[in-house]
Symmetry: C2
């Protein structure tokens, strides 16, 4: 049988990785898929570079629409990125009856519902394994492997740049800014790293996983997203002393008690003995808790040319298998049948339940701890551990004359976040609290 | 649409777990699968217990053949275990045109080729996610998620009993026999633990993964299998001091240089910093190295009622989706199309390449180390690290009078195993070597 014909939109890092993997492993992939898979056409504004990558056998064009318009093309791979052009092209490809493979998490987290609805109406597949956690087959695990389960929660290190930065901060005791510069020098962070370090990229990915886990539409605008830019070396060190590591986690959790779903990205203390706390450098890992299976974890490279290509090609093989099949035989885009999505609300951050790490720079006077614990008790927040250390750590303001500043670290048990915000405001107002209170969420993940 | 009708052969731990998960999560599973899945008939010799589990709505019979003969049954789940009756029933179910789901690794590792050939000829599916690593969707990851890759090697903790025993030996510094008794008391080891502690169960599972990874028939009889019964607390301690942990690993490796495949189970030193070295207790984890994706790891519960049921039900959903589809649209049983399996040989253990941990109980005399290192050098085996400790550790014979026994621990670099066997025989023959040399393979897994 003639190889299935693929058109590639955008041949940057992942695109050239995909071309390379398909070419190098074509015999093995055909032995598995039962049919060859061939990139027949590439669209890229830089046609010279594109030609240099793919050689003579492949048609190279500058205009992506020429690929979509080509009736010989069965599958379109979108690797342009961004929301605007990518969205237009994906919608046009669907309208033209092409199956689509994309690694574009931003696009799907924001416009996924519209795109999947269009694909469903047209009877084509939109596959996106590469959009979350690169080469780790986490979408397949969630949609198919764990399909027996009510998913309870997912927590993932799903941004390699920030995990690299956090690993370096811990290893070398450095603050965020210093390590970011090093990461940029090494190519682990982009020149404009905003999407990574502010948690937006992780937010896109956890939004997609949340939809698949709980059968709700993708709705990135409801996610609570915090990055790692304010993290200080002191807190990483104190967390370590208390048996925790700080990771930027994307978390989504079923909250039947509140009739909603938590969807959030933020730095998180995780017990050092958990496997995910030991995921270092640019690696990714996702923990999934299901009611039947218990805890499972998936680990691997979350970015890079060939790891991401591994996921793109897996999608190509899935489509090659199923593109002539009755659409009922396919796995639904968001794991649940399109008419079975629920509108379970995403809870506002004030309703989220977590425990907390607090660091207060306080004057070393009698009664300080008592005033603080009283405020916590008044808000029904119970204390798990307290650590007191001579201050001058961190970036607090200089203590008033005659006062010796002390770092007071408190780990709390679980509480509703809104209540903690109220308590924090009252503690912050105490004259003996000398600097803004550092507060970082903590998850036991068990 | 009427729910797909399932017949269950054997309702022990996993069978009742499967019934429970399907019942509890039926709404959620239907939302995903697009169709209900119903256990309509159960066969078990103990019909009273079976009836107590499934209640009144399900037909209970003592004769498994009544399930197979029932034309209303679409899928048969085989949870009887063992090679004999299970094989007969699976072959009869296939002949009757039923799809089969099984958790029976022993059956597939030994008779898989025959079973898959029969299923292929009849156009039915035999699904077996539950046969390897319980609830971890590793079969799906290997067959579909990583389909773009040339798999280079797989190394897995795929037997929870032995990993529990090894974790306890390390934590408490106890020898094998003591911990085994504790494991039996706690229900982590069976009354007859032979299949687990001798590595046979892990051998079955790695045999299945090997076939899927490399596109070769299942051939358990070619696997090299060693268990953990001879492991001593002293070696676990020395390994720790050298930065390693000892795990029972199932390993399979592509060896293009030798035109074959390694397939083996044995205790293995693994660097303590690797994620898999930190998998504790009865948990399972599988590391897969692919040429495009690099290293990925899959972690979760490898046994137990509901974790295993999670995999069984995932197979039921896959079959529900695909049972009316053209067989070409299905994933081949062993990942590769049936006519694309190769007969790449499994290499004999003498051709395997690993590094080694050696412990020699030697007389504390000048020149001992020199004689030993000379033998290693003569066999082209280079040394990575040496540790010398006062003896009396371990189970060596009492040293002759006037000699103080010393433990000499050597880590080697990689060597062909046959060469190491020759060197070991020569070292063992030295009069200054006072006890049988302990030798444990070591893998860096990077």
């Amino acid at each position: 049988m003639k190889p299935i014909q693929v058109g590639l939109l955008g041949i940057g890092t992942v695109g050239s990785g995909t071309f390379k993997v398909l070419t190098r492993n074509q015999a093995e992939i055909r032995r598995r898929a039962g049919r060859g898979i061939e990139i027949a056409m590439v669209a890229d504004l830089d046609t010279v570079r594109a030609r240099a990558i793919v050689g003579e056998g492949v048609e190279v064009v500058a205009d992506a629409r020429a690929v979509i318009a080509n009736p010989a093309i069965d599958i379109v791979i979108e690797l342009i990125g961004g929301y605007t052009i990518a969205k237009t092209l994906v919608m046009e490809a669907i309208a033209a009856g092409k199956h689509v493979v994309t690694a574009n998490k931003a696009l799907l987290a924001v416009h996924g519902s519209e795109i999947f609805a269009a694909a469903h109406a047209k009877g084509v597949m939109v596959a996106f394994e590469a959009a979350v956690a690169g080469g780790i087959p986490i979408i397949k695990a969630l949609r198919e492997g764990l399909t027996a389960n009510r998913i309870e929660w997912i927590a993932g290190i799903i941004n390699g740049t920030t995990n690299f930065i956090l690993s370096e901060m811990r290893d070398k005791g450095l603050d965020f800014g210093v390590v970011l510069k090093e990461a940029q020098r090494l190519g682990y962070a982009e020149a404009d790293p905003t999407f990574d370090i502010e948690g937006v990229d992780a937010g896109h990915k956890v939004t997609i996983m949340s939809a698949i886990a709980f059968g709700v539409p993708v709705q990135f605008d409801k996610a609570h997203v915090e990055g790692i830019t304010k993290l200080q070396a002191a807190d990483i060190r104190y967390a370590e002393q208390l048996g925790y590591r700080i990771k930027l986690l994307g978390i989504t959790k079923r909250r039947d008690d509140a009739g909603g779903i938590e969807l959030r990205v933020h730095p998180t203390l995780v017990p050092a003995k958990r496997l995910i706390a030991n995921v270092e450098g640019a690696m990714n890992a996702v923990v999934v808790q299901g009611d039947a299976v218990g805890t499972t974890l998936y680990y691997g490279k979350g970015a890079g040319a060939e790891p991401t290509a591994s996921a793109v090609v897996a999608d190509l093989v899935d489509i090659t298998r199923l593109h002539t099949a009755d659409p009922d035989h396919r796995v639904p885009h968001l794991a649940f049948q399109p008419d079975e999505l629920h509108d379970t609300p995403i809870l506002p951050i004030a309703q989220v339940i977590t425990s907390f790490y607090l660091r207060l720079q306080v004057a070393d006077q009698t009664g300080v701890l008592s005033r603080i614990t009283t405020i916590l008790a008044e808000h029904d927040i119970s204390i798990d551990a307290v650590l007191q250390r001579p201050g001058a750590e961190g970036a607090g303001q200089v203590a008033a004359e005659g006062e010796k500043p002390t770092d007071l670290i408190i780990l709390t048990h679980e509480t509703v976040e809104g209540r903690m915000r109220e308590a924090l405001a009252k503690m912050q107002a105490l004259p003996t609290v000398l600097a803004p209170i550092v507060n970082i969420r903590k998850e036991e993940l068990n």
